[in-house]
Subunit: 422 residues, 2 copies
């Protein structure tokens, strides 16, 4: 069987996809009897023509020359961003093409529209590359775990932030310095805000939520917090308390309510997620009947991501159906109702009675303390006091911290990091 594809966008991923298709066509043929022909490549940058002509593939700067080409079966969108990618994909579907996309931002925002359009037109969508690069997590959840109820999902879904936290932990450097190194090594973009603030992880969490729980959440409804407030002090204290700090994307279903959030999290040091170092990604699932699973691999980069895009091209070519999941009746939990354990750190004057004042306020909000660490005074005027709480309500914690931060003896803002007992 032969299938003809057109590619929109020849950036890092696009170029890697063409190269993988050319380099491993014998493997694909051997494993599936499928021949994939790249019929046309489109990029708005004219100078890309040179590259494409080296492969003997026709080039265009007009996306509609791909979308409207009647010889093309599958349109592969590797442009990124909401517009014009959305418009192109919807047009391609309407022209009877199947589509493959790596566009997490688009699916997170417009997933419902794109999936329902595809379903209506009986078209197929591949989107493996939109979450965790090379890890076949979309396939694993939607096909491998098709009969599983997913109770909890914890993802390290963003390589940049994982690299920074890893470096801060390993080399005891500040956030800023770790970021600089990540940028130097190509693990962080020049404008890394989407990564650092957790937005990229949030986009991927939306897609995994659809697959796992049958609902496209509204991005604005999900609590998201980045890593820029994490200090080397917190990393060291967490380590001493046998935890490590990871930026986790979390989806937990309890009592028909779904708690979705992205934030720095203390994870027990002996949990496999703590061994996810450098810019690697991972997804930890707690399911029934399949039990606990971990998927780990490279979450970004053109070369690894090309594996997922090509797998999708092959899957769509072979007519493997997209998961058209029927809407589930799920309610989302407000972050203020979250009940969990917390790591809190105060910078306090080294005076008698400080601990008493803090403890009193916490107690007045029914927050019970599990452990306190206060070391001998260092040179500065303010010393860190670190507490782990027992399970408490988020709203109580926030109110207590607000009150504590108004004390004269406290140098605000105090730190609050959620703990997950995986």
């Amino acid at each position: 069987m032969i299938k003809r594809i057109g590619i929109l966008g020849l950036g890092v991923v696009g170029e890697a996809v063409v190269k993988t298709l050319l380099r491993y066509k014998h493997l694909i043929k051997k494993r599936t009897s499928l021949k994939i022909e790249v019929r046309k490549v489109c990029d708005i940058k004219k100078e890309k023509k040179k590259l494409v002509s080296r492969w003997n593939i026709p080039f265009t700067t007009d996306p509609y020359e791909v979308i409207e080409d009647s010889t093309i079966d599958i349109v592969v969108e590797l442009i990124g961003g909401i517009n014009p990618a959305r418009k192109y994909l919807l047009s391609a579907l309407k022209k009877g093409k199947d589509i493959v996309t790596a566009n997490k931002a688009l699916l997170a925002q417009c997933g419902e529209e794109i999936f329902s359009t595809a379903a209506m037109l009986n078209r197929n969508i591949g989107f493996e590359a939109s979450v965790c690069g090379a890890i076949p997590i979309i396939k694993s959840i939607s096909e491998g775990l098709v009969s599983c109820q997913i109770n909890k999902l914890y993802g390290i879904l963003n390589g940049t932030t994982n690299y920074i936290l890893y470096k801060m932990h390993k080399d005891k450097v500040k956030f800023k310095d770790a970021l600089k190194e990540a940028q130097k090594k190509g693990f962080a973009e020049r404008l890394p805000q989407l990564d650092l603030e957790g937005i990229d992880a949030l986009h991927k969490l939306c897609i995994l939520t659809y697959l796992s729980f049958g609902r496209w959440p509204l991005i604005g409804d999900i609590y998201v917090e980045g890593i820029s407030q994490i200090t080397p002090l917190d990393i060291v204290y967490a380590e001493e308390l046998s935890y490590r700090i990871k930026l986790l994307a979390i989806a937990k279903k309890e009592n028909k309510k779904l708690s979705l959030r992205v934030h720095p999290t203390l994870v027990r040091r002996d949990h496999p997620l703590c061994e996810v170092n450098y810019a690697f990604n991972a997804v930890w699932l707690d399911t029934y009947p399949a039990g606990q699973l971990l998927f780990y691999g490279e979450g970004a980069g053109g070369v690894p991501t090309s594996s997922a895009v090509v797998a999708d091209i092959v899957g769509v070519s072979l007519g493997r159906c997209l998961p058209q999941i029927k809407k589930e009746d799920v309610q989302f939990e407000d972050i203020n109702n979250l009940k969990t354990r917390y790591y809190i750190r105060f910078m306090a004057c080294d005076k008698p009675g400080v601990l008493a004042k803090i403890s009193k306020i916490l107690a007045s909000f029914k927050i019970s303390i599990a452990s306190v660490t206060q070391k001998e005074r260092s040179r500065g005027q303010f010393v860190p006091i670190v507490m782990l709480t027992h399970e408490a309500r988020e709203i109580d914690l926030k109110r207590a911290l607000k009150k504590i931060d108004k004390l004269e003896i406290i140098y605000p803002p105090s730190q609050l990091i959620r703990i997950e007992d995986l």
Copy 2:
């Protein structure tokens, strides 16, 4: 769409499969629009009828009542063992049924026959549950990594042995005691020889080799070594040297030669495979372009395995094709030609000149020593001497050890454990 299945074998897995199908039929429907009906269940034990009638499913003790039932689309074989399972599966294929099986021993021995029969008859096979229980590793390799060249595959494919090694490491107990505990906890069978000697892992390695490298190896050609010779002493020394001992199934392709083997292996302690504890399974892959990946989860037990069986039933129902991989031209490497680093331990008389004698023999076989650990004499007459070698040839190592074991000052047999630098 509705699909009708018949189940052969109502053991631990069979029972869990029916329960999962019944309990999660709404999930399957929601995610795939598929309805699966269990048309008939067969077990040679008459007393199972009681169980089955509780579910309102017809029961038979005659497998041909399932195989020849024209209303059944898919035959699910959960009997295990070579015969009569092989006969039943081939008959089912010939009767036009698709098949699903969890039978690793059968596929390892007769995979080529079963797959070619299915291809000839244009039938589909699901076999996800045959390797690593609930982990969707078959799907991930054959579909998710369809465009990837797999360079190295390392698997912890047997839960029993992993549990025993984990317990020996954690509680510093002897092999025998760890085995007893595993049996008590249900992680080891009463006759655990297939597990302990590495045969179960070997069967799974055969299947993964077919998927990854396009060849069914002959079981007899693969080097296999179990864990019964591992002592607490080795575990402690390995730990001190920053390694941990794991029973690994290994497939490595180098220079067109494929090295396949199952044996206890020293793995660097900071490698994610070392965090695979208890009876968990995992597969570590080194690929291009997808890079390095780890898949981790429950490798055995009726409940987790039912997830994989049901996923296969769904996949086959939806017409997802089996990987019919064209034979690759691959040559297998003989274990004697293996080049790797080694951990060797001698029990030697605590006399002057001992180290010199051992070193001399090693040198005569061109085996270069990277490190030596000999501690102060304990009470016994023999003291352990532990060495890590640089890269050396297996055949040289074996010859050297044979010679060393003949020395009067040595209490044989000396220990040899291969090291893998993952």
